[in-house]
């Protein structure tokens, strides 16, 4: 079957030998594949003779492809020239081989042969020498001489070698987490360095001190125990402490002032810079410019009973609150206002009884003497915020039995103890001495009633005491003081003679509310009274040298601190009257209503600025700026209109008042 198949496929063109897998089942599967030769169809059939025919081919060195007639342009001769036929460029090397055999007759071989022989001889010699040496050694040890391959059994010896695996090299690494890195950057300034050094310096000093203390304690026997403040205690409520710290309080105080200043910018500008331009055109007339009104909710229902500027801080003043109404007495209050904070008092003190009078100590500006309606006198240190008074009179130490109408600080006595005078409607003038732990009362004077009917001495002795209302001490004669009484009489007294009056001035018919010595002229004082009048007196004359009817009860009168002839008075119809006697001896320069439906009770000039504060019976204090006409100093001016330097203003002011006195002396009965 296979041959028939072979025949059938023979015709097909197949140029390769095919491996044919036997198809029949009988055929062994593992039979070798049968090789068959497949001839291409167009294969040339040659006869044996043809196949045996020899054909010769000759190889020549000539390359038939090389052109032999190349002509090139010769630039030198400017013509085409034929290249000479040559093979150099076209030689093709078919086969080369370098050999390593030498011809045995050549010189090179001879040289090499000689070298080889020489080397062999040397080796043989060296071996011989070694053998000899070994023999010698063998003889000396008595052993048999070892042959070249000694010890080893030449027949029963097999040399084995094994190659072990070379373990491949491995690299092994572990990557760990990188250590944390923090970037830190800061700019350093000079002052930070400075701060650090200063802090370090302070710490060093502290440390040195601590050491010193510890050493001292050690040397004295005991061990110094330095207790550091526990940080836990310091940390608790630290946040709250920040809010309520003293620093915060201070910052808040400043901020409140700022806020006020911003809000009342116009008023502050008026206070500082505004001048009433119309004053230039009206001679003998002036005006008051209302500035701030100081009041608090707590004082609305109280009356202003006292006003006092601080002698040291010209922007600070104290206001006393109480009541003049006998039927409506209540607690009192003292508020210290500053112009820097117009909306709220700097200090507030409340008292059990209504405050009637106040006085700041001229040398110790924080000391404030207070007189109350119930007769007590107290001394406050205004720096102790909201605290009790540092001194207070009691029944034990002595006390006025009626309202204290005025207190007045005195110069320090011989024992350097601070003391002040007080006057009360119980008819006594007392001196209060601030000793170490108590306020000592020293009665100075009993204000005896003076009987107008002089011819009955017995009645005088029986009569009671006059209620003192006000007093003032002479600026030059320290012992001299004048007292105004409820009856209207004015008494000149001396600290030296407590038994009697030096002089009694009659003129007022009702209670004298205020009495003030002129700050420039030592003889002149002014009084105001409920009988609607203000009177000016010379203490050497027992009649008033001037009198002004203001048409209403005059609550207070006050000399200006800058001119001897200017004073201001306030009346119960809410008017402020400002007089300048040098300008007008009969009429006020200014009469201005400053409060509606309220009585004015007190007035006080500022020492530095041209302003007055007036208190009313509704718990408010108004500040008023004086227009230029109300503050003429009448200083001599040179031809340029500038006040000459170095003039004695005090003497000028005194002379001004002297002139007035001379005029009134000429007509004593004018009042």
């Amino acid at each position: 079957m296979a041959p028939s198949r072979k025949k059938a496929t023979k015709e097909r063109a197949a140029r390769q030998i095919k491996h044919e897998a036997p198809v029949d089942d009988e055929v062994d599967m593992y039979q070798e594949p049968i090789k068959r030769v497949v001839r291409p169809e167009n294969q040339l059939e040659l006869t044996d003779a043809e196949l045996k025919e020899e054909k010769t081919r000759v190889l020549t060195a000539d390359d038939p492809n090389i052109p032999k007639n190349i002509s090139k342009y010769n630039f030198k001769d400017r013509c085409y020239k034929r290249d000479p036929p040559g093979q150099s460029e076209h030689m093709a090397i078919q086969f080369t081989m370098e050999g390593c055999s030498l011809h045995h007759e050549s010189d090179e071989f001879k040289a090499q042969d000689a070298y080889r022989q020489k080397k062999a001889e040397e080796e043989a010699e060296a071996r011989k020498a070694m053998e000899q040496e070994a023999q010698q050694e063998g003889e000396t040890f008595g052993g048999e001489p070892d042959t070249e391959e000694s010890g080893k059994n030449q027949f029963n010896y097999s040399d084995r070698a094994a190659q072990t695996f070379n373990n491949p090299l491995r690299e092994r690494g572990v990557s760990t987490e990188p250590p944390p890195v923090v970037d830190f950057g800061a700019t350093l300034t000079q002052w930070e360095i400075y701060d650090f050094y200063m802090g370090d310096y302070a710490a060093q000093i502290m440390k040195a001190k601590l050491h010193e203390d510890a050493d001292k304690k050690k040397s004295s026997g005991g061990y110094g125990s330095y207790e550091e403040p526990t940080p836990a205690a310091a940390a608790t409520g630290k946040e709250e402490d920040t809010v309520h710290s003293a620093k915060m309080e201070n910052a808040l105080k400043i901020l409140e002032r700022l806020v006020n200043q911003n809000a009342e910018d116009e008023i502050f500008n008026d206070f500082k810079y505004w001048e009433d331009a119309s004053d230039q055109f009206r001679e003998g007339e002036g005006s008051l410019l209302p500035l701030w009104r100081f009041s608090t909710d707590r004082t609305k229902r109280k009356q202003v009973t006292a006003l006092c500027w601080n002698p040291h801080y010209p922007d600070l003043f104290a206001v006393g609150y109480g009541s003049y109404d006998f039927m409506r007495q209540g607690s009192g209050m003292i508020c210290c206002f500053s112009l820097k904070n117009t909306s709220f008092p700097e200090y507030i003190f409340s008292t059990e009884s209504g405050v009637m009078c106040l006085d700041f100590h001229p040398q110790h500006p924080s000391l404030l003497a207070v007189g109350c309606y119930d007769g007590t006198v107290m001394v406050y240190d205004v720096r102790n915020k909201g605290m009790r008074p540092i001194y207070s009179s009691s029944i034990k130490t002595g006390k006025h039995t009626d309202p204290v109408w005025q207190v007045f600080w005195q110069a320090e006595d011989l024992a350097k103890e601070l003391n002040f005078f007080s006057i009360s409607s119980d008819g006594r003038v007392a001196n209060w001495i601030m000793s170490k732990n108590e306020l000592k009362m020293e009665p100075v004077m009993h204000l005896k009633l003076v009987n107008t009917v002089k011819d009955d001495p017995e009645e005088t002795s029986l009569s009671g005491l006059a209620g003192g209302c006000c007093f003032d001490f002479n600026k030059t004669q320290e012992h001299l003081f004048v007292v105004g009484t409820e009856e209207g009489n004015i008494h000149k007294c001396s600290k030296a003679y407590s038994g009697q009056y030096l002089e009694t001035y009659e003129g007022h018919h009702m209670a004298v509310y205020s009495i003030k010595w002129n700050p420039f002229h030592e003889r002149v004082f002014i009084t105001c009274s409920a009988d609607w009048t203000v009177k000016i007196w010379d203490h050497n004359l027992n009649y008033p040298i001037m009198s002004f009817d203001l048409g209403n009860a005059v609550g207070d009168v006050c000399w200006s601190p800058y001119s001897s002839t200017i004073f201001a008075a306030v009346t119960s119809d809410g008017k402020v009257h400002v007089f300048d006697l040098a300008e007008n001896k009969h009429e006020p320069l200014c009469e201005q209503k400053v409060v509606k439906r309220a009585k004015l009770t007190h007035v006080c000039f500022n020492e530095r600025d041209f302003m007055v504060i007036v208190g009313d019976d509704r718990g408010g204090v108004n500040s008023l700026k004086l227009s230029p006409n109300l503050r003429k100093l009448h200083l001599p001016v040179n031809e340029e209109g500038v006040v000459e330097a170095g003039v004695d203003t005090f003497a000028i002011q005194k002379a001004k008042m002297d002139k007035l006195l001379q005029a009134s002396d000429a007509k004593p009965s004018s009042s």
């Binding site: 809010v243 309520h244 620093k247 915060m248 808040l252 409140e256 910018d265």
Partner: protein, 102 residues
């Protein structure tokens, strides 16, 4: 303590003052402790003003190492921002100065 009531009453007085927009207290790190302003504005003010105050203080200290900033007022068209800087705190008051005048 009188100082606590004093501080509280002063704070309430300032914040109720006419024209005052807000009072702000920051601690030393610049975060607000107290504020009368809405929280977003508070945050803005405290963050910005504390930076400005620190810079201003740095300027004064650089000019003179013994000198220090005590107060900072910023007057703008609308407001006046008043800053009282301290080591521990920063007190900021924002006021409309025009409003209080009337």
């Amino acid at each position: 303590m009188s100082s606590i009531t004093d501080v509280e009453s002063t704070l309430s007085r300032i914040s109720s003052h006419k024209g005052v927009k807000g009072v702000l207290i920051c601690n030393h790190s610049g975060s607000a402790i107290r504020s009368s302003l809405p929280s977003d504005i508070t945050e803005q003010y405290s963050a910005l003003i504390s930076q400005l105050a620190a810079k201003a203080s740095s300027v004064t200290r650089t000019l003179d190492a013994e000198d220090d900033l005590t107060f900072l007022r910023i007057r703008s068209k609308k407001h006046e921002i008043m800053v009282a800087p301290d080591k521990e705190f920063l007190l900021i008051v924002v006021q409309d100065p025009e409003m209080g005048g009337e």
